[in-house]
Amino acid sequence: MTAQPSLVSDEFRLYRRLVAARIRSDWQYRTSFLLLMVSQSLIIVFELVALLFLIELVPQFGGWSRAQVVFLYAMATLPFSIGDVFISEVELLAYRYIRDGDFDVVLLRPTSALLQILALEFELRRAGKLLTPAIALAWSATNLDVDWTVGRIAALAVAVISGTAIYSGLWVIAGSIPFWAVASREATNAMTYGSQFANQYPLHIYPGWIRAIMGWALPLAFVAYVPAISLADAANPLDLPSWMAFTPPAVAVVIGLIARWVWRTGVAHYQSTGS
């Protein structure tokens, strides 16, 4: 494309305006908006409730205290919900843009295709999903047997940001699959929702082959488990070295670069549907 190169700041200004417009239009249907927001947050509440039931059956789940397990849940879910609000829109690529041919229109506009989809499909109601993990994080953090020094709080913030970046990268990678196979929408879900689901439980309770996938094939362990061990001072039966606590940001950068490459290759590979 030989369109006028747009400045990054211009792109984000455009993104903000599109998102604001989207929010205004959603707000026209208040009842339905609020109902959907509540029902979407409920599913996450039920997930947490189910986890609490399991802890009730098996106290010291994975050798961790209740607060530690809930902290892990929050570390696995909060970054995911943030990604859900801002990045999950890429899932609609297959569903709406490629299948219906609307992606052509997106490509014609002189601004980032990804940012356009993220803005056009933005839905504020997804923000309802932030509530449960945020409460779980606040509750567990105050019930952990650790001192929340400035350093630890900063480390927590870094972990949440890195986790969000890792999930977002996975979302873009999984969301790019339709460039090659349009009808694979649900495979995307396995990578994204499956990741969040698997991350809720301490890694060491899984059999070795699942651990290998979560540690190496998809670097999910770096979202929640790795930072949680040091932040929550939790038992570490896998004997992960303590320097690993510093690796999530690096993993996030690598995933981000891979995601960028996959997306660009996908766009280059894109061929319009129809005649």
Binding site: S32, L36, F46, A50, V58, G62, A181, A187, Y206
Partner: protein, 269 residues
């Protein structure tokens, strides 16, 4: 009269089956997701059983692993997350055409539902269980005639799945946007049918609540039949419960449809 009903179910169901075969790749990628979730849930549940001395609430690790994969296979068969076209057609007014057909609307929709479910048994029901059996030691119905009871139980479960969705989707006659209600139903199914956690792992009081709801008939009860939790009359009663829910909810659907069509005014006629 019954032969006409069966004929309709067969003809419409057959076409719905065929239509569903168009989306093979999408369906297979769905089976992949179900299997991934099955692996994670099985691993977690096996851990829970092991930590509880091998048996938790009467279920062994093997039972629970089987539960994990089987319930994932059930999602597409009973249509836990499947919606009907109905709300869209009600909003656009196309429902009028449906009502003009010389066939009963509910039966028509049921035939579509069953046709698609039949295909889903093959594409999304069996694969998670087979792939699960490759990695975990699963439990199979024994003696062989339990397969037959299980088969009947699956059919009843699919009917309940349809009846629940049919009732909730008819709300579209009164409310323009039913996505919120649809989602509430989906969440209720997810939680109370045993998709997040088998409901026998709930605290006792909540387990009783869950067993009193129709959602248990969609997944929890047929899976328990598969696992051989019931024998003799008890088994007949569990199956009877499913059938009762199916009949009651189908009748409720008819009544709602009746009162909706009486007040229906289509514009431009």
């Amino acid at each position: 009269m019954w032969s006409a009903v069966l004929r309709l179910l067969w003809e419409v169901g057959k076409r719905s089956f065929r239509r569903a075969t168009t989306y093979r790749l999408a369906t297979l990628s769905g089976a992949f997701v179900n299997t991934v979730f099955g692996y994670i849930r099985a691993a977690v549940l096996i851990y829970v059983a092991a930590r509880s001395g091998g048996v938790v609430r009467g279920f062994t690790g093997q039972d629970l692993a089987t539960f994990a994969f089987l319930s994932q296979g059930f999602i597409a068969i009973v249509g836990a997350f499947r919606g009907l076209d109905l709300p869209k057609r009600i909003r656009s007014g196309d429902i009028e055409v449906d009502l003009y057909r010389p066939a009963d609307l509910q039966l028509w929709e049921l035939a579509n539902w069953l046709g698609e479910s039949t295909l889903q048994v093959l594409l999304r029901g069996v694969p998670p269980v087979v792939l699960g059996a490759l990695a975990f030691d699963l439990r199979w119905p024994d003696p062989a005639w339990h397969w037959l009871v299980f088969g009947l139980s699956v059919i009843a479960a699919t009917m309940v799945g349809f009846a629940v969705r049919f009732c909730s989707n008819l709300v579209a006659f009164w409310l323009l946007d039913i996505r919120g209600i649809d989602q509430m139903v989906t969440i209720s199914v997810t939680f109370f049918a045993g998709l997040i956690l088998p409901i026998n792992l709930f605290p006792a009081w909540l387990e009783s609540v869950a067993r009193a709801l129709p959602f248990a008939s969609m997944i929890q009860l047929p899976v328990e039949i598969f696992l051989g939790r019931y024998t003799g009359w008890e088994m007949a009663w569990i199956l009877g419960q499913q059938v009762l829910w199916a009949v009651a909810l189908l009748l409720a659907g008819r009544m709602i449809l009746g009162s909706a069509t009486r007040r229906l005014v289509v514009q431009g006629g």
